[in-house]
C-alpha cells in the first residue's frame, strides 16, 4: 500500500524535502512524502486480497480525512 497526503492537503514534510532537494541543485516541484506498507495476505484470489487490504486502509493504515492510498498486489505462490 502506498499511503500519501491527499491532493490539496498541505504537506510540510514534502515541502521540507523539496527545499532540501532544491538546495542540492535539483530542479523539483510539488514533493509529497507518503509511506509504504508491505505485507502478506493469504487470500483465495486477487479480488479478495484487494478487498481485504482496502478494509485495512480504511480502518487503520490511512486516515481518509487527509490521506489517499493505492494498492499494488504482487502474487507470491507457495
Amino acid at each position: 500500500m502506498l499511503v500519501r497526503p491527499k491532493q490539496g492537503i498541505l504537506d510540510p514534510q514534502g515541502q521540507a524535502v523539496e527545499s532540501s532537494l532544491r538546495q542540492l541543485g535539483f530542479s523539483v516541484g510539488d514533493a509529497r512524502v507518503g509511506r509504504v506498507v508491505d505485507l502478506e495476505v493469504d487470500s483465495a484470489d486477487a479480488a479478495a486480497a484487494r478487498a481485504e487490504v482496502e478494509r485495512m486502509c480504511e480502518q487503520l493504515l490511512a486516515n481518509p480525512l487527509i490521506e489517499s492510498y493505492e494498492i499494488e498486489l504482487m502474487d507470491d505462490e507457495g
Binding site: 498541505l10 510540510p12 514534510q13
Partner: protein
Amino acid sequence: MSSPQPRIGVLRFPGACDDRDALWALGALDAEAVFVWHTETKLPDLDAVVLPGGFSYGDYLRCGAIARFAPAMAAVSEFASDGGLVLGICNGFQILCEAGLLPGVLRRNESLSFVCRDVRLVVERADTPFTTRCTEGNRLTIPVKHGEGCWYADDALYQELVSRGQVVLRYAEPVNGSRNDVAGVVNDKGNVMGLMPHPEHAVDPLLGSADGALILSSLVESARERALAAV
C-alpha cells in the same frame, strides 16, 4: 455542605507520560482520580474519563491510530455514547480524533518543529462541561508540547463545526498551523472534548500559570453534578 468527590478515570496507555500529572491535578482539584489500564475491557464506576498526553504506542503509523484500538477505548466509546464526560489532552485528543469521537485530525506541525512553550488561548465557548469556570473571551495561558498538533478539517466540516459552536478554544497566536488556530473542540453532543494544550501542567501559579485549573475544575464540577444527579 460537603459534596462527594467525583470519580475520574485517567487512562494509561503504554507510552503515556502525562498520566501522573493528570491524576495529581485532578486530585488537587478535589476529584478522586484513578488510573485505568489500557487493557481493561470495562471501566470502573466513573463520572468522567481523561485521556492524558504522551506518545501512546510510540506514535507509530499516526498519533493515536493504534491506541484507539486498545480494549479500554471500546469501553470509553460506550461511556461517551451514553453521555459520559470524556476529556482528551494532547495525545488523548489525537486518540479521540482517530477513534472518530471528535471531528478532524491532528497532523504534523506546519513548522515540522516540536513546540514546547506557554501559549495564549481564547475561550470561545464557556457553556461546555469543560469550560463552565471560564467566561467567553477569556484569555488563558497554558503550555503546549507537541510535534503533531496541527488540527485539520476540510472546509465543509470546519464550517459545520463553527455553525454548531463546536470550537471551544483557539490559539491567540500562531502555534502549529492549526486550521483557523483551533486548539480545542467538542463533539456534537458536547460531552467529549479534546485540546492540545496541557491544563494539567498549569494548575498552580508556581508552574507559571494556574489557568489550566479553570478547565480541569470545570470538568471536576461537571462530573460532580453528574454524580449527584445519579444518586
